[in-house]
Symmetry: none
């Protein structure tokens, strides 16, 4: 018999990172959804369960889930816990999202260019990442 939350997602945290744990959690859930490992409707572990598995405090998981909820990525139900609400096929982005996102993209791409990655190389790596997402989607 399967556990209710088939863990096809490997969450790896770096407790010494300068990136807060709850943001690492948020990012990994988002990547898992983009990968196709988590589809719309997939349940996530309960906050306390996941906290125990990861060896962190449940408040930290709570904060990550709350952030994902605010960003419409998951919904949280009193009885059945957190469930994925958005994936690549869930409709167009909310107004204002793209502008904000593109600014962050600009910053990130500028960093690569300045450090000597050729524009062709940047583009190639973007394509590679996108391809990996679509590959995951088919699984």
């Amino acid at each position: 018999m399967y556990s209710r939350y088939a863990v096809r997602v490997h969450l790896t945290l770096d407790l010494d990172s300068e990136v807060p744990i709850y943001l690492q959690l948020r990012d990994q859930v988002v990547e898992a959804i983009a990968d196709g490992g988590l589809a719309e409707g997939s349940p996530l572990p309960s906050t306390r369960q996941l906290a125990a598995d990861l060896g962190i405090n449940f408040h930290t998981v709570n904060k990550a889930y709350d952030l994902l909820r605010q960003q419409s990525v998951i919904r949280i139900n009193r009885k059945s816990g957190a469930v994925v609400r958005r994936d690549a096929g869930s409709g167009p982005p909310e107004p204002g999202f793209v502008e904000d996102w593109e600014q962050r993209l600009r910053t990130l791409l500028a960093e690569a260019v300045v450090h000597g990655v050729a524009p062709a190389g940047v583009r190639e790596r973007c394509d590679g990442v996108l391809a990996s997402f679509r590959a995951g989607d088919r699984v």
Copy 2:
């Protein structure tokens, strides 16, 4: 006669952003270099000068410059001040940079995909940003 630091770079800070000021400064310098507005060898304003211009604490500017120095983007001489050390034509990236950067790219692209931006749209925007850099380069 021009000031020694020809300000063809418009630094705009949002003091209320969740992004720390010293990081906003770092990002804007990097974007200015990618844009072509600052080339290898270009001098940057002194920390005190820039702090005064922006109305912020000079320690904050110091922190941004120090970060840029650690990332090999600028060189700091006691005598000639801060000077751009790297631009798009300064050679290949340092070992390890690309791996780290690609992970951040993956996180950022995943966010867009999950929020409903089509892969084609993501690629299009990447191209747009890269084109804006090359256009700036010619100026």
Copy 3:
């Protein structure tokens, strides 16, 4: 022949809402009465029946009915089940109700004003809601 509880009331629950289910139930019954869809003396479905129809736990329905009873909106007989006890024509409010209610109104209107809804717009929407109640009353 009609069922004893002619369902002229469409109860729609959002199981993922942050508003507890029993409160959503309470609110919808109250709105149905204000609408005129349920008049004084109208019977409500039994708790078990309604729970089955809505696919929720019957304790939840029980809690909603109990709250409505405490607020004098319905009457519960072991024999005849739950019956609407109050509607718009059932007499003046109980002492203390208006003061408590007006405080909540103040909070709600303040929220609209602060978010940029003009006072005229607020009043207009209040009128619209009241008109919808009176229209339903005639049905």
Copy 4:
């Protein structure tokens, strides 16, 4: 010499209320802004200061401020703390706000009508509340 945060706002909490403290705090700040007691640009006490004044934990104040920030009511600055960002004159509401708000209005007005407040009385009290806001605005 004045304190930096002229306390023209009296915050009164009911620690035994079923309404969470952080929501009471949020509501009172919003009402104070609607009242005109807090205008755009007014500073709020620091989280720890306010917590000490109210005899509650600073995390609770933190949560209230964070909620106000998410709703664009205040902005939070690393150095100068929380500042009012929105008041009645700060522009039109964000898209989607009015629909959500009107649903809550409908629920609230239905409650009054069912408890025997005449529609004219409801309207009168709405006007009264709005008038009190405008009166505060002139101060």
